[in-house]
Amino acid sequence: MKYITTINDKKYEIDIDAHGNITVNGEARYVDFLALDGGGLYSVITDKRSLQVVIEEEKSNYSIEVEGRMFEGHVFDERAVLLAQKRGGLGGGSGEVKSPMPGLIVAVTVEIGQPVTKGQTVVILESMKMQNELKAPVDGLIQSISVQKGQSVEKGAALIIIAPPQE
């Protein structure tokens, strides 16, 4: 199976054959990869290092933590790469703002139709005694707001959807 994997802005062609042999950009690599807890903790032994890594995945978007450093990546198979190229490139984030944890909406700082820039505060959520500013993940226009001030929300609740900016 052939994969195209991007880590931050670097691109790797990784091939895994039926026996589990791995090549990276055509070069063979020795890797022993073992789940430690069934919850994202892995032990990786290569010919150079023995490391513990934490892997999180959402729809083939990966966060990999190695010794306190966070790597963001995407894994595509060949077919997905072709499809993505037709759509105009790999990657591109979602404009959905979800509640990262249960809490109370202290304020919604945007209105429907308002243009926002990535990193702008859109909702203030109170949880664990702290007021947390939830930021816009992408540039765009506020398409919908599904919560209001004073409302309690569960973890993962959809709060705001940001549509891509119209050219």
Binding site: T5, K10, L36, L41, V53, E57, V75, P100, M101, M128
Partner: protein, 513 residues
């Protein structure tokens, strides 16, 4: 001369201690009681039935629903729990009721021993304005600022007089809530509204006052111990400049900027500040120190501090044991102030907060926990594998403390311990600490209270990320994806496998008959 209550009342008996708290600090206090052979009573809300402090306490009493107001802040319920179990003393820990003078008074009125300072000292120091008035009489230097109870218009005029930048602080505040820095007049109105709103929701009191914001200042505090016999000493300083939004994240003792002469002067100032309110028991004088080593009194914390372990490691004093000793009316063990701390200690607060997502709090069940150990490592923790972090309480779940002969050794041990520390099931700030311990400025001790906000980033690393690390991350993600797909494939064609599992079960059942 009759100095105080102990000589009037004689020795207070402490035969059983109720801990009016939860989490790591409740565990810490239970440990001190155990060391002294004193039985303990834990209290818990609905969600803390299986918390570590309840597993460690000798007795446990349920006190209500998860929100603090309905459990850990219910004074009468806690007194009732003490009466029910025969506890004759109450230790409040930090937070919750620790700095509530009414509760301290209630405990004493009910004939129980309060393991903490006199209610009058808590009340005076708890109000930042009356605290300033009290210490001023003892020539304790203060940061220029305003009194409490002023209107927005008066505060705005005062800000012009003091000079920007200014800091808005909640009169009833603590822990950074209701606190806002304002750098220019046009931001003043919005900042004051936010500060008042936060103070109102956190403390039920929206009153605020102003202080001059000292740029690049360090937060340095002195540990005080005082007994009922008039003895009072300081146990040296703690450097707590690594903060984010006024929440301390890393503390160390001693501080790189204090020499013995300055330690003696500041320590004497701290002792004077404590004396100004007739202080007894453990307390902390917080100060700001500017780049020219001018120091100013900030506030007094009339309780045990989160970061007390770093002082314990460089002085050899068990502060919680001393608190109990002092509450019993005995003479405390230390007889002299500490001018030459032994070695160096550092503490990293382990918070359930995601450093990669603006330190957003995180909740969940701890699925895997590997706790560091080895030479020079201490962990004060309230968690265990399988325990649940709920959204009702503070996000600090553990403290990692290391000791070394020198600051370098303490830091190297911290790096080693952080690398060992594995917590799965929720997001936490261990990656933040790992990166901080790689920061050259931090390593050099060039820090101030805005260091994290202004000089530190989680996305740029001071040491280059090697090509091998990128490749390893790529391989790990790809193998994960590959396995996921293989597994998905198996599920689709799993008819046969299910049948075989079923056969195995029935065969096993036949064998058991």
């Amino acid at each position: 001369m009759v100095r105080n209550t102990a000589e009037v009342k004689g020795i207070n008996k402490i035969n059983k201690v109720l801990i009016a708290n939860r989490g790591e600090i409740a565990v810490r206090i239970i440990r001190a009681c155990r060391d002294l052979g004193i039985p303990t009573v834990g209290v818990y809300s609905d969600v803390d039935r299986t918390a570590l402090h309840i597993r460690y306490a000798d007795q446990a009493v349920h006190i209500g629903a998860p929100p603090p107001r309905e459990s850990y802040l219910r004074m009468e319920k806690i007194i009732e729990a003490a009466k029910l179990t025969g506890a004759d003393a109450i230790h409040p820990g930090y937070g919750f009721l620790a700095e509530n003078a009414d509760f301290a008074q209630l405990v004493m009125d009910e004939g129980l021993t309060w393991i903490g300072p006199p209610p009058s000292a808590i009340a005076t120091m708890g109000d930042k304005h009356s605290a300033r008035m009290a210490v001023q009489k003892y020539n304790v230097p203060l940061v220029p600022g305003t009194e409490a109870g002023l209107s927005d218009e008066d505060l705005f005029r005062a800000a012009e007089r003091i000079g920007y930048p200014v800091l808005i602080k909640a009169t009833a505040g603590g822990g950074g809530k209701g606190m806002r820095a304002v750098h220019k007049p046009e931001d003043f109105a919005e900042a004051i509204a936010t500060a008042r709103r936060e103070a109102e929701s956190a403390f039920g009191n929206g009153d605020v006052f102003l202080e001059k914001l000292l740029v690049n200042a360090r937060h340095i505090e002195f540990q005080i111990l005082a007994d009922m016999h008039g003895n009072i000493v300081h146990l040296g300083e703690r450097e707590c400049s690594i903060q984010r939004r006024h929440q301390k994240l890393v503390e160390e003792a001693p501080s790189v900027v204090l020499d013995e002469e300055l330690r003696e002067r500041m320590g004497q100032m701290a002792i004077n500040a404590a004396r100004s309110v007739g202080y007894v028991n453990a307390g902390t004088i917080e100060c700001l120190v500017d780049k020219d080593k001018n120091y100013y009194f900030l506030e007094m914390n009339t309780r045990l501090q989160v970061e007390h372990p770093v002082t314990e490691l460089v002085t050899g004093v068990d502060l919680v044991k001393e608190q109990i000793r002092i509450a019993r009316g005995r003479q405390m063990t230390p007889t002299e102030s500490v001018l030459q701390p032994r070695g160096w200690a550092m503490e990293c607060r382990i918070n359930a907060e995601d450093p990669y997502a603006n330190f957003m709090p995180s909740t969940g069940k701890i699925t895997t926990l590997i706790t560091p150990s080895g030479p020079g490592v201490r962990v004060d923790s309230g968690i265990y594998g399988g325990s649940e972090i709920t959204p009702y309480y503070d996000s600090m779940i553990a403290k990692l403390i290391t000791w070394g002969e020198t600051r370098s050794e303490a830091m190297l041990r911290m790096r080693r311990a952080l690398a060992e520390y594995t917590i799965m099931g929720l997001k936490h700030n261990i990656p933040f600490h790992i990166n901080l311990l790689n920061s050259f400025k931090f390593i050099a001790g060039q820090i101030h209270t805005k260091f994290v906000e202004e000089n530190f980033s989680m996305t740029t690393y001071e040491t280059e990320v090697s090509e091998a690390e990128y490749e390893l991350a790529a391989i790990a993600a790809t193998l994960y994806e590959h396995r996921k797909r293989q597994l998905a494939g198996q599920v689709v064609s799993s008819g046969k496998r299910d049948a075989s599992n079923w056969r195995w079960v029935s065969r096993w059942e036949r064998l058991q008959k």
